[in-house]
Symmetry: C2
Subunit: 177 residues, 2 copies
């Protein structure tokens, strides 16, 4: 129980990978976790394109300032919002955030490393064209993953006292550390 929450709290982004390929069985496990994320009306508005082909991966890499991360990763997963099954943009985008988080947790838990790339959304239409997705697909993120060469990371977060209020905004929630 403690261990599970520890896993959630200790997860960090990995941006450098070994060249080893990831077995399909693990890719499947990661996507299984994404698939079970919650969504409004259970509409599951997500779609995924696994990018293994190195030429296509390079084309996608060229659309971001972080091209080295994508080039270096043995595998990427492009995550899309499928507007054809969407019902509310804000709630659907939240659900996709939940699905991506499930993927990252599964990656960490499988002793792989991964990173959620968002800057590439500046070129989302180019990526959508490269991957030949239908008009209804909107790129939400690219997750790069692989076996990690990094051991730890500097991480920081705001304290709960900066984030949490009790009953109304007028009262900060004070809890002992």
């Amino acid at each position: 129980m403690v261990e599970f929450n520890k896993k959630i709290k200790e997860r960090f982004s990995i941006r450098k990978f070994k060249s080893d390929n990831i077995p399909d069985e693990l890719v499947k496990e990661i996507l299984e976790n994404a698939r079970w994320a919650p969504s409004g009306l259970n509409n599951q508005p997500w779609k995924f394109v696994i990018i293994k082909d190195s030429q296509i991966k390079e084309e996608v890499a060229s659309q971001t300032h972080y091209s080295q991360i994508i080039s270096n990763a043995p595998l990427c997963i492009a995550v899309f919002y499928d507007k054809d099954v969407g019902y509310n943009y804000v709630k659907d985008v939240q659900a996709i955030g939940a699905a991506i988080q499930n993927m990252l947790l599964a990656i960490h838990n499988l002793n792989l490393g991964g990173v959620w790339l968002g800057e590439i959304l500046n070129k989302r239409q180019e990526v959508e064209r490269i991957l030949n997705v239908p008009e209804s697909f909107e790129l939400m993120a690219v997750v790069a993953l692989g076996y990690s060469t990094e051991k730890k990371a500097k991480r920081s977060r705001k304290s709960l006292s900066e984030l949490v209020y009790l009953n109304k905004y007028d009262h900060k929630w004070i809890v002992s550390d």
Copy 2:
């Protein structure tokens, strides 16, 4: 390792609760998990209002068709997007989805039950007024939680074959079950 991913996949929404209060220590643990979610530029655009006061809880409950769930829960957590620390609406909303998912996973893992309420966003300005939050706060969701009286739920998800493509949209990803 298997156990961790199983926890992610087995989690389900709980909408009926015992009257028992949740110790602050557990509430803190849930929010700790939210706090460690990833966000673009690590901007952590989330804020939380814990609602325990029964009068305020009733006022919030009256803003949704699912008022019974909120009334019945010993505690709710309203999740806000703080636009003052945001940098990109889509990425910030995804990050908040990730933080909410971390909360739901922590709730499940602590043997509590919870549900992500979104319909209340139809009355988000009323909720924002009740909780007296600043102009910069936009309601994203209310999570109702408590000790569960439910044991299991009917759950369904689309299969991976309906969701996943390889390299380009033209190729479905075929993986054995």
